[in-house]
């Protein structure tokens, strides 16, 4: 799994590319993998204000809808016009062509709460390990059950 250096990451699995006061925002490779086939993307309009930790849009798989949370506050400068007709671009290239919006940040202090690539990689690893531990426990239980039978 890829964790591009130079990006910032949120606990809700969004990434941010900072260039001066401009932030480009998308969802991470881990997030798109968890969601599965993305078939619809809802984006804010240019000029709209987004607020840190509030939903600014949504991605939908065939199965379910998930909110996308703003990792920073700001005003929307640009949205990715490719996504409405090609939502699967987020699955194919989450850190590239699958970017979602570009905003002018209100407060660069918002970035302090975000993780580096290394920290995020560790965060994802922890989440996966938590899952794996569950599974290992389960497998042990299975073995015990077999012993009994």
């Amino acid at each position: 799994m890829e964790f591009p250096e130079g990006l910032k990451f949120s606990k809700e699995h969004e990434w941010v590319l900072v260039e001066g006061k401009t932030a480009t925002i998308g969802i991470t490779e881990f997030a798109q993998e968890e969601l599965g086939d993305i078939v619809y993307v809802e984006l804010p309009e240019v000029g709209e204000k987004i607020v840190k930790d509030d939903p600014f849009g949504a991605v939908e798989s065939v199965k379910a809808v998930s909110d996308v949370y703003a990792p920073v506050s700001g005003t929307v400068l640009e949205i990715n016009d490719l996504l409405p007709d090609n939502p699967e671009t987020i699955n194919d290239d989450p850190y590239g062509d699958g970017w979602m919006i570009r905003v002018e940040m209100t407060d660069s202090d918002d970035l302090k709460d975000l993780m580096s690539a290394e920290e995020y990689a560790e965060y994802v690893e922890q989440q996966k390990e938590a899952d794996d531990e569950d599974e290992e426990d389960e497998e042990e239980e299975d073995d015990e059950e077999k012993d009994k039978s």
């Binding site: 599965g36 086939d37 619809y40 809802e42 065939v62 199965k63 599974e135 389960e138 299975d142």
Partner: protein, 363 residues
């Protein structure tokens, strides 16, 4: 989080196949292997194999079995021949749906009822409570595993593995025979809108059967399919899903299932209420909706006509076969006509939709 959840005999096989496993109706079930859309399209064009062992099986047997089954269900069980299957409804005394089920007539006085996983315990209790006369009711759920082999190539894949003449098993009929040396009930039924079979086998043989089918089917492009695609496949065909389109308060007349409800039978639980509802006309009806603007309708989203609330969505998705955004929902009778403009409220935004004929997808 996963404590207390049940597993089918194929759980380990799903894990090995890389399935994403989720909780469904108290079971840990594979929701997808390679991806919902890919699996959906494989079933429409080739074939897919589903583990549906979470479904419950209840057996009813005895000298009064026919009479009893007639009373607890809406369809005419007596019309079934031995080796025939029938879609049926268990109704409560308010005409609401306890469950939608398949009856299999194993012998003249012996029925197997396949019930929804989420309702398995409720159904068993309900059937037993209503038991009268010479009938025995048994919960056989743990004994059976169930695999569904669905898609246009299903017969081609299955035939080399069995001596049963599959060409002679018509839709909604079944036979008993060995498949890959495993004793099975092989029914030409399914929940995808494609030709295909549902195979009931002893739980302990499920993994061998699964592996044999996957091995022989691989050359024909058979893929394992999870519950995600099972849901999109059934939704394209407008097959109801209990807990969404059907529950204890919805009646078959509202749900478009009058064809299952045989008023010609003199008595069955719920009949009086339904006779009255038929005379008076239903207040709401299940309709198909196609969204005319971008967006996806999901269960429970409110529906409006000319600004007035008229109902709610029960299921919705982006149809992988049609590329359209489709939904089922209940609307007031006055709003239910084909061609009507309906608005779906999606996260506070009104999105234009149209009432369309069902099913959405035809083979």
């Amino acid at each position: 989080m996963t404590q207390g959840l049940k597993r089918t005999p194929l759980y380990a096989a799903h894990r090995r196949a890389g399935a994403k496993v989720v909780e469904f109706a108290g079971w840990e079930m594979p929701v997808q292997y390679r991806g919902v859309i890919e699996e959906h399209l494989a079933v429409r064009s080739r074939a897919g194999l589903f583990d549906v062992s979470h479904m419950g099986e209840i057996e009813v047997e005895g000298a009064d079995a026919v009479e009893f089954c007639q009373r607890i269900s809406a369809n005419d069980v007596a019309r079934m021949k031995v080796s025939q299957a029938q879609y049926n409804l268990l109704l409560n005394d308010r005409g609401g749906v306890v469950d939608d089920v398949i009856f299999y007539r194993l012998e003249p006085n012996h029925f197997l009822i396949c019930v929804n996983a989420a309702n398995s315990d409720k159904d068993f209790r309900w059937i037993r409570e209503h038991a009268e006369g010479k009938v025995e009711v048994a919960d056989a759920s743990a004994r059976y595993a169930q695999l569904a082999l669905q898609g246009p190539l299903a017969e081609k894949i299955l035939q080399p593995l069995t001596a049963l003449k599959l060409g002679e098993i018509k839709s909604f009929y079944f036979g008993f025979g060995d498949v890959a040396s495993i004793r099975c009930l092989v029914a030409r039924t399914g929940y995808t809108g494609e030709d295909g079979f549902e195979l009931y086998c002893p739980s302990g043989d499920a993994e061998r059967l699964w592996n044999a089918l996957m091995e022989f089917g691989a050359a024909e492009g058979l893929v394992p399919v999870g519950l995600g695609a099972r849901d999109t496949l059934r939704l394209e065909k407008a097959y109801p899903l209990y807990g969404h389109e059907l529950d204890d308060t919805t009646t078959p007349l509202e749900a478009g299932l009058e064809w299952v409800t045989k008023f010609s039978k003199p008595a069955f639980i719920g009949r009086e209420v339904l006779v009255r509802q038929k005379e008076e006309g239903v207040k709401r009806r299940l309709v198909g909706l196609e969204l005319r603007e971008p967006g996806i309708a999901r269960g429970d989203y409110p529906l409006f006509k000319d600004g007035q609330p008229v109902g709610r969505v029960t299921s919705g998705t982006k149809s992988p076969s049609l590329g359209k955004s489709i939904a089922l929902g209940y609307v007031a009778r006055e709003a239910a006509a084909i061609g009507n403009a309906i608005d779906v409220e999606i996260r506070g935004r009104k999105v234009r939709a149209e009432v369309v004929p069902l099913p959405f997808y035809r083979r």
